[in-house]
């Protein structure tokens, strides 16, 4: 089942460049199939725009299977759309109705400047990772996988944190534009693993310092991030980050 002739009205944020003034522009798309993903629906629009000799809408995407974290659209006020636990690329048009008007905006945050239309610059996340989201390993041959035993429960929790794809929906959703959930996921992931121990004392402090320097807001425990995170990362990890930070700052050397 499923229709393939939905008609939609799209209100899309258009902005030529970082310094340019943006505004919403309204488009009609016909013949949208319920089986399309949200990005495929935008592909249909862009094909039409190109054949009409108009500038296509710029949006980011890469894997289109929910693992790379590149896609980033605020759809009707929801980062990654109204379905929870889903990236924009995995959102399907069957969740919309014929005749709907859909508002599409970029991530909004002072630390994520708009590059063009719906594309924002998320380099700030890379710099947070560079400041401490890594482990030191000896070069040479890969170690035997079973040489470092890790309890199943601990591995599970580390894995839950590690599923963060660095998309930035947490920042987009947060009224304070705080990137605490992202930072917490990275710190918490490595804090669970013996491999992360070498830098543990410094990691939380460095990453939080970088987080603050990038101009992200301060966490007020609103939990909008967890509600919108496509990987359903829990704010539990923020509490762990706070503990790690306290012990690395107050308890550290």
């Amino acid at each position: 089942m499923g229709a393939d002739n939905m008609k939609l009205t799209l209100k899309i944020w258009r902005q030529k460049g970082n310094k340019a003034k943006g505004q919403f522009q309204t488009y009609q798309v016909d013949n949208v199939s319920t089986h399309m993903s949200f990005l495929e629906m935008l592909d249909v629009l862009n094909e039409k725009l190109v054949s009409d000799k108009q500038e296509p809408v710029a949006f980011e995407h890469d894997c289109r299977e929910g693992i790379c974290g590149t896609c980033s659209l605020v759809i009707n006020g929801y980062p990654h759309g109204p379905m929870q636990g889903t990236t924009t690329c995995q959102l399907h048009m069957r969740h919309f109705n014929d005749g709907d008007t859909i508002t599409i905006e970029p991530w909004r945050s002072a630390a994520f400047p708009v590059v063009k239309d719906l594309v924002v610059n998320r380099d700030a996340f890379d710099r947070i990772i560079q400041s401490g989201g890594f482990i030191s390993v000896n070069t040479g041959q890969a170690q035997d996988g079973n040489a470092i035993p890790i309890e199943k429960e601990v591995a599970n929790e580390a894995m839950d944190a590690a599923t963060c794809i660095g998309c930035g929906a947490c920042v987009a959703a947060c009224p304070n534009a705080s990137a605490m959930l992202f930072t917490a996921a990275k710190v918490s992931h490595l804090a669970h693993m013996p491999q992360g121990e070498v830098e543990a004392a410094q990691r939380a402090r460095r990453m939080v310092e970088q987080h603050d320097a990038e101009g992200f807001g301060r966490c007020s425990n609103i939990t909008a991030c967890e509600a919108e995170c496509p990987k359903e990362i829990s704010v539990e990890h923020i509490a762990r980050l706070n503990r790690e930070y306290l012990s690395s700052s107050v308890g550290g050397k």
Partner: protein, 232 residues
């Protein structure tokens, strides 16, 4: 200078820890404050309340604690307003045209802590001028003689009772207590999360205690002006 301390206290988490610790201290004060104030309901010309007020303003230990309280209020309010401004800046100049406000557990009050806190701050200024300033330096307050006392003491009860003969004062106090309740509805559990005190077993209990406490404090304080107005 102790650089780790400066770095800690100026970091986002350090600032939040200050908010959480001062906030929890203020909550503990509110509990004591309410228990003491419930003596306003005991009638008898307010002797019990006036004697209690005398004790609270003359016991050296309580006086020392009260300086910590003034400092906490200032620190919490200034820090809160600074965080509020900072967070608005982080949002950027271009807002969303459409924004859904979905959360994973926190109440809607969490979105408005800065605004609710600012209302509480305005309330505090008025409240302190009305009673605290009068107790210490005011001219509106009378004194009263009680048996067993060798000097007359302040009749704070009479001042409070007089204030609550005005229905608008009663309304003002009751409305402000609703905001206190909303602030604590989110604030209590939030403070534990900020301090990293989250636990599978204990966090649900913290949430329940926070909600019971915020309703009990708001309702407890609100009953006093209502009761005094009705029994004047």
């Amino acid at each position: 200078m102790n650089t780790w301390f400066v770095r800690f206290i100026t970091s986002s988490i350090g600032k939040k820890v200050v908010m959480a610790l001062t906030g929890l201290f203020l909550i503990s004060f509110l509990i004591i404050h309410l228990i003491g104030n419930l003596q306003l309901l005991s009638g008898a010309g307010g002797q019990a309340f006036n004697e209690y007020a005398y004790f609270m303003t003359h016991n050296p230990l309580i006086k020392a604690t009260s300086y910590g309280l003034y400092a906490s209020i200032l620190l919490h309010a200034i820090q809160g307003i600074l965080l509020w401004i900072k967070n608005r800046q982080a949002r950027g100049s271009q807002g969303y045209a459409v924004k859904a406000n979905r959360t994973a557990g926190a109440s809607k009050a969490s979105y408005r802590m800065g605004a609710i806190g600012s209302i509480i701050l305005i309330f505090l200024v008025i409240h302190l001028i009305q009673f605290w300033y009068q107790t210490h330096w005011g001219s509106q307050i009378e004194t009263v003689d009680y048996e067993g006392w060798d000097q007359p003491i302040n009749d704070l009860y009479a001042l409070v009772a007089f204030t609550y003969t005005n229905i608008w004062m009663v309304v003002f106090y009751v409305v402000c207590m609703i905001f206190v309740g909303l602030h604590l509805w989110h604030g209590f559990e939030s403070a534990f999360q900020t301090l990293g005190l989250s636990h599978e077993k204990w966090t649900p209990l913290v949430k329940i205690v926070g909600r019971v406490l915020s309703v009990a404090l708001a309702a407890g304080f609100a009953i006093i002006p209502i009761w005094m107005y009705l029994n004047q």
